[in-house]
């Protein structure tokens, strides 16, 4: 039972991450390899605000969103001068830089030692500690963020992003400023990821930089591409699929000696087959190039 609750909590956190990333990748058509940067900054900012500044959870999360938004602005401004492959490489560069900072700024982050003993969220005097309680808080945030994002997806802004994605020259010719609109999307996406970071940190109560590596960014992108981008169900389908598939493979009853490796290979093979038969993702219409 606890195991299932844990999976549901992780699915909630990853759905927040992928719904936010969807704005940049699915709507904007920009493949970002640094989403874990904002996830990580969110986790560290929230942790430090709670532990060093003694802030309660909710003010800490609000400040975290603000701080991460500013970081996303700083990263996005130079990154969004690029498109296509160059944009991918530039975001990869930021991913590497931020990871290195988290790893080596020992005074602030304790670097590789990580930060243990992160307090659980306390809201209105009530402490969320057990798994069911945590499930409630994560999914409450998920629903709030999803509502905001769905409104944005459906808004003129969402349509303008898709127009820029499909044909930037034509969209700009209709008066849409690529710099502004892409930057808004990038910042919103970073801010939502920071909430996931804060929830993750207070859930596992221990963070270190290895949770926010390039691997994580690639995983997040995979979640989105597998599920399908530019719509409301893709991120959900992708998250459930990518988190539950490896778990499901555990029940195949393979001999222990090969189980771990075999699981990895089946996982990889599934992804390859998926891209082969549904390059636009399980629930996607639009194919990211």
């Amino acid at each position: 039972m606890n195991y299932i609750l844990h999976l549901l909590i992780m699915i909630g956190i990853y759905m927040i991450l992928s719904y936010g990333l969807n704005l940049v990748v699915g709507f904007g058509g920009l493949l970002s390899l640094c989403h874990a940067v904002f996830y990580g900054i969110g986790a560290y900012a929230c942790t430090l605000l709670m532990m060093k500044c003694g802030l309660p959870f909710l003010p800490a999360i609000l400040l975290t969103i603000l701080i991460t938004g500013i970081c996303a602005l700083i990263v996005g401004f130079p990154a969004l001068r690029f498109r296509g492959d160059s944009f991918v490489i530039v975001t990869l560069g930021f991913q590497m830089i931020v990871f290195t900072v988290l790893y080596n700024w020992v005074d602030l982050t304790r670097g590789p030692y990580g930060i243990p003993g992160i307090p659980r969220p306390v809201i209105a005097g009530y402490e969320f500690t057990t798994l069911p309680e945590y499930l409630i808080i994560v999914w409450t945030f998920l629903i709030l963020i999803a509502v905001v994002l769905f409104i944005i997806y459906k808004s003129p802004f969402g349509l303008a992003l898709k127009a820029l994605r499909d044909n930037e020259m034509a969209a700009e010719g209709l008066g849409k400023s690529p710099v502004h609109l892409f930057l808004y999307a990038f910042v919103i996406s970073g801010m939502t990821a920071s909430v996931a970071g804060g929830l993750y940190a207070t859930y596992v109560t221990y963070i270190d930089p290895t949770s926010f590596t390039l691997d994580e960014s690639i995983f997040l992108l995979t979640v989105l591409l597998v599920g399908g981008t530019g719509n409301r169900i893709g991120p959900f389908v992708g998250t459930v699929f990518m988190i539950l598939l490896p778990e499901a493979l555990r029940f195949l009853g393979m001999p222990d000696a090969v189980a771990a490796n075999a699981r990895q290979m089946i996982y990889g093979l599934t992804l390859i087959l998926l891209m082969f038969f549904r390059p636009q993702g399980i629930a996607g219409k639009y194919m990211v190039r």
Partner: protein, 255 residues
């Protein structure tokens, strides 16, 4: 005398040491269809790129509504009221016909991410107004039946009509049309020409500039012609005068 409209003065652009647009001076007046004709590689599309900001001129100025617009980024040129049909059409392929036109109807302000949150109350009537406007323009372009079709599954001709409808819906007063009839069958050409005539007839403040290789089209709709060759405007005047000119006929029509 009112000389609104688009004025170009001494506009030049060189690429790879080659003068693609060479000291071009021209005036495009409202209420009129002006054709820009000339052989392949004359620099017509490049001239459009310079006007809409895709390229920055090396020299020269562009005046529109007493404002200098040369060198502005494309989205700012567009916001000044200058719209363009690209030679390679450029519809939003993954959007429906409706969405393609809708994307042209929104103001800069309504395209901010916070707009829906500040106008939660009025959102429904806002969306209804936009939908009405979109439908009006879809009727205008004769695309209403196709409104839910993805733009990528339209025929080439329908895509061109969609792109023209889009810049009409955006409310531009200057329309730069790069070969709107190229690659279309006679039926579609007729439809495009009817749309152009309707635009000018219904709204005398619109300025249409038409790059066109098909001389019967030029004769049919254009009031005024600029003839461009090797980056320069070598002739201009009333359509029958320019097309009747012996040199134009030799260089361009091979007569």
């Amino acid at each position: 005398m009112r000389t609104e409209g688009l004025k170009i003065k001494n506009l030049s652009k060189a690429m790879n040491g080659l003068k693609i647009v060479d000291r071009v001076t021209a005036t495009f007046l409202p209420g009129r269809i002006t054709a820009l004709v000339g052989p392949n590689g004359a620099g017509k599309t490049t001239l459009f790129h310079l006007i809409t900001g895709e390229l920055k001129p090396d020299m020269g100025e562009i005046f529109y509504r007493k404002k200098k617009i040369a060198g502005l980024p494309p989205y700012k040129v567009a916001r000044n009221g200058i719209g363009r049909l690209f030679q390679d059409v450029r519809v939003f392929e993954n959007l429906t016909v409706f969405e393609n036109v809708a994307s042209a109807c929104y103001s800069e302000r309504s395209e901010t991410p916070w707009f829906p949150f500040l106008h939660i109350k009025g959102l429904r009537s806002f969306n209804r107004d936009i939908a009405d406007r979109v439908m009006f323009w879809l009727e205008f372009g004769g695309l209403a039946d196709l409104k839910d079709t993805p733009a990528s599954s339209l025929s080439y001709g329908q895509q061109k009509i969609l792109a023209i409808t889009r810049i009409m819906a955006a409310g531009f007063s200057i329309l730069l049309l790069d070969e709107p009839t190229a690659g279309l069958n006679p039926v579609m050409i007729k439809r495009v020409l009817n749309i152009l005539k309707k635009i000018i007839k219904e709204d005398k403040s619109k300025t249409i500039v038409l790059v066109e290789h098909n001389m019967s089209v030029v004769t049919e709709v254009a009031d005024w012609v600029y003839f461009m060759n090797e980056g320069r405007i070598s002739f201009f005047g009333r359509t029958d005068h320019v097309l009747g000119d012996q040199e134009v006929r030799e260089i361009y029509l091979g007569l």
